[in-house]
């Protein structure tokens, strides 16, 4: 363990804090938290969320920072230093980060793709492209919406199932290449580069969020969405899933267990006050989630109102055309009276009309999470705003910065432990980082094939959950009981000058491990009882017009047990010292 000056350092504690913020505040704050908020009772979700933050998030975050700062090594080295038998924990973290790096930059590739396509006079996802005869829109696009078509067909060129492979999508591959080159540019000299970049990647997203907040609340109908979000449904608090989702969201949003925090902290000055910084970063992260969900709900409200009004307009036209009434007889104010009247006077003809159901609450209830929210729902809302190109550019640039900021942490989590090994320390920083980036990029090209999005979903949903929980559980039990809480206290006092108070000790030794064990048991139970894992597929030639799914369009459920089995078995691996099973990780932050 070197305590000397040969290890690079952050130029200032501010850089370290911004790096942690940049890492923790990622896409999950924008696309997972609003969904959870909506699912679990709006404003009421704050209670379990803040509770879990205090009980689980802040203590574990602080723990990882302490370890990194104390040991001044990456995750493998740090855990080996605590106990040689626990090197596997570090290795598991590195594997987790490696899996994450493979597929996370694909999202950045998509952000680049959308960003570049925003520089057109008409946004390509605003209108359906025409068919070969130029008589109308393409059939696939007409059945879905233009934004969905753009995402699934033009961006991904998705196949019908995971078994059907196709070639690499050139545009995607180029965007992925660019994403990796930008990542390399940000980390090329290790902490020296990263430290300067995080000033921008951590702060600019907030500028965009504020701009969007102002734009969002001034949009027509936005208030419906915000009201919907903040009306708490307290009965959701009685549902255990609410608390579990709050716990997992905090856990994954802070990026615990990947080794990135240990890596970042290892470049700190020995006497840096990480305790205060841990609290600050955790609260900034949660605050950003709440802030982003206000913006998201304003956008939802706008989109729902626009859809509702379009629906009413469609009904109005249908009524006018079917009953041959003059154009100005029915307008938005009297449409419902007219519907009643026509139903009474011409019941049979009225019944034959396919009016559909225009319901604002139903529109607001459509909850979406994940890439679907970021790339489909948001782009649909943006195309309806005036000056849509500007908003589009701003939005996708923000997504890009959020994603890149998180990538910095992920890559650093791999390169830092590698540099600690003697064989790699002779290789220059630039070359090592370049090799890691190149390796990840080449493997990541697999996600740009036509079935790539299904692989992405598999990695995203099943690639990591257990492992991270397990890793962090082992971490906290090790530090509290194997290393000893007393020794740890002394180390902290040595570093920051005072012992951690009773709050930290109770959390580390008692409450957090119990909570993690409970989460872990829940996940195992869910996995066993869940049966075969499933995924949603996009089927473009479904002849029958029935829509049955989540994306509100023609998707099919397909079971792919064999592949997931294969996947799970590749994901487990043994620690290099003892026969411990350390199971790999996931992303959610």
């Amino acid at each position: 363990m070197d305590k000397g000056g040969s290890r690079p350092n952050w130029d200032s504690p501010m850089q370290f804090v911004l790096a942690c913020v940049s890492y923790a505040v990622g896409l999950g704050n924008v696309w997972r938290f609003p969904y959870l908020c909506q699912m679990h009772g709006g404003g009421g979700f704050m209670i379990p969320y803040l509770f879990m933050l205090l009980v689980e998030g802040v203590p574990l975050f602080c723990l990882e920072l302490a370890i990194g700062q104390k040991m001044r090594l990456g995750s493998i080295g740090a855990w080996t230093a605590i106990s040689p038998y626990l090197g596997g924990v570090g290795l598991a973290s590195v594997m987790a980060s490696l899996y994450l790096c493979l597929y996370y930059n694909i999202i950045n590739g998509w952000s680049f793709w959308y960003l570049f396509h925003s520089f057109q006079s008409e946004l390509p996802w605003a209108e359906c492209p025409l068919n070969a005869n130029l008589t109308g829109p393409l059939e696939e696009c007409e059945k879905a919406t233009a934004t969905q078509y753009f995402f699934y067909r033009e961006t991904l060129n998705i196949s019908s199932s995971i078994e059907e492979n196709g070639g690499v999508h050139t545009g995607q591959a180029l965007c992925l290449l660019l994403a990796w080159i930008v990542t390399y540019l940000f980390i090329v000299r290790g902490v020296k580069s990263t430290g300067k970049v995080v000033y921008f990647t951590a702060t600019f997203p907030y500028v965009v969020l504020i701009i969007y907040l102002i734009r969002g609340v001034t949009l027509h109908g936005a208030i419906n969405g915000v009201k919907y979000m903040f009306t708490p449904k307290m009965e959701q608090l009685a549902n255990p899933t609410t608390w579990i989702n709050a716990a997992t969201q905090i856990f994954f949003s802070l990026g615990l267990g990947f080794g990135s925090l240990i890596a970042f902290a290892s470049y700190n000055e020995y006497n840096n006050n990480f305790e205060r910084q841990a609290v600050i970063v955790s609260f900034i992260n949660s605050g950003t989630s709440i802030f982003a969900s206000i913006v998201t709900f304003a956008i939802y409200g706008f989109k729902a109102t626009v859809n509702y009004e379009n629906c009413l307009e469609r009904v109005r036209l249908l009524l006018l055309n079917a009953f041959n009434l003059a154009e100005d007889t029915i307008n938005m104010d009297n449409i419902f009276e007219w519907m009643e009247r026509l139903n009474q006077t011409h019941p049979q003809q009225f019944a034959e009309l396919d009016l559909g159901n225009c319901d604002l609450t139903q529109e607001l209830d459509k909850a979406v999470e994940g890439p679907g929210l970021a790339f489909i729902v948001y782009s649909e809302a943006i195309k309806n705003m005036p000056l849509s190109q500007l908003w589009s550019v701003l939005y996708f640039f923000m997504l890009l910065l959020l994603g890149m900021g998180s990538m910095l942490g992920n890559i650093t989590a791999i390169t830092t432990p590698l540099r600690d090994f003697k064989i790699f320390s002779s290789v220059s920083v630039e070359v090592l980082n370049g090799l890691v980036c190149l390796f990840c990029m080449l493997l990541g090209l697999g996600f740009t094939t036509t079935s790539g999005n299904y692989w992405f979903t598999m990695f995203n949903d099943y690639g990591a959950t257990f492992s991270l929980l397990f890793v962090v559980l082992i971490e906290v039990i090790t530090v509290s009981y194997i290393y000893g809480i007393k020794r740890f206290e002394k180390d902290i006092e040595d570093m920051i000058g005072h012992r951690p108070n009773w709050y930290w000790k109770i959390m580390w030794a008692g409450i957090s491990p119990i909570l993690l064990i409970a989460l872990f048991i829940f996940y195992i139970a869910n996995y066993i009882m869940g049966g075969t894992p499933t995924y949603m597929a996009w089927n473009k030639d479904l002849v029958r017009p029935t829509f049955f799914s989540f994306y509100n369009n023609y998707c099919i459920h397909t079971f792919y047990f064999k592949l997931v089995q294969m996947g799970i078995s590749t994901f487990t691996q043994r620690s290099w010292k003892k026969g411990e099973m350390v199971v790999p990780p996931f992303f959610h932050h």
């Binding site: 363990m1 000397g4 680049f112 793709w113 545009g171 055309n321 154009e327 007889t329 290393y483 040595d494």
Partner: protein, 218 residues
């Protein structure tokens, strides 16, 4: 046989009197939405406008069938509604009891669609011929897709940035190497150091670890 002849005889005059009826195999339905298209500047639909419509149809048919002189009287309109929708049929200029086939009428309309729309200040969506699909404007495809241009610019900038950083760090490390060889000559004179090993520091050793239990007992 006789009944059939009588039936046909009775039917023909009936047809001749009512060539235009909704659902006829020769008739097209037209739907006009003036207020949707023009809002405040909408004009009122009256007989004059209808005359203009019939004239526009005659024009379309004349341009399509070169030589045949269609007149306004060849265009018959029926079933006008307040919606402003109606049906029309076209009879041949030579023989007014013979109605033109739908296919011919459709082709004529499609050929002159823009002119007909222009006469009424409407568009394909507001002047609808039911069952005649509009011919939409072909999308303008630039030679290089615009996104590729932006991509190229960004890629170039980033590439230049990386090359600059790599070259500058190479130059820096070369400079350091030269400086180091110079320093090594003056090493003995200096008491203070940088970049040398910890052994020469003589600083304070952190005794926290060196209690003896360096490794955690399992």
């Amino acid at each position: 046989m006789l009944e059939k002849v009588l039936f046909l005889l009775c039917l023909t005059p009936a047809l001749a009197q009512e060539p235009c009826f909704p659902g006829s195999s020769h008739a097209y339905k037209v739907r006009i939405s003036i207020k949707t298209a023009l809002g405040n500047q909408a004009y009122v639909w009256n007989d004059n406008e209808m005359y203009l419509f019939r004239a526009a149809m005659a024009f379309a048919l004349r341009s399509y069938h070169n030589g045949q002189e269609f007149n306004v009287s060849n265009i018959m309109v029926c079933n006008e509604t307040p919606r402003v929708s109606f049906w029309f049929v076209v009879s041949s200029p030579e023989n007014s009891s013979v109605l033109l086939k739908k296919g011919d009428v459709e082709n004529a309309i499609r050929k002159s669609r823009n002119r007909i729309n222009g006469a009424f200040l409407l568009t394909d969506q507001t002047l609808e011929f039911i069952d005649i699909p509009p011919t939409l404007a072909a999308p303008v495809m630039p030679v290089t897709p615009p996104w590729l241009i932006v991509f190229g610019v960004v890629m170039g900038a980033v590439g230049a940035g990386i090359i600059f950083l790599l070259v500058s760090s190479l130059v820096q490390s070369k400079r350091k190497k030269n400086k180091k060889t110079l320093d090594e000559d003056r090493e003995d004179m200096r008491g203070i150091e940088n970049g040398l090993g910890c052994d020469n520091l003589g600083g304070v050793y952190n005794t926290t670890f060196s209690d003896g239990d360096k490794f955690t007992p399992m």
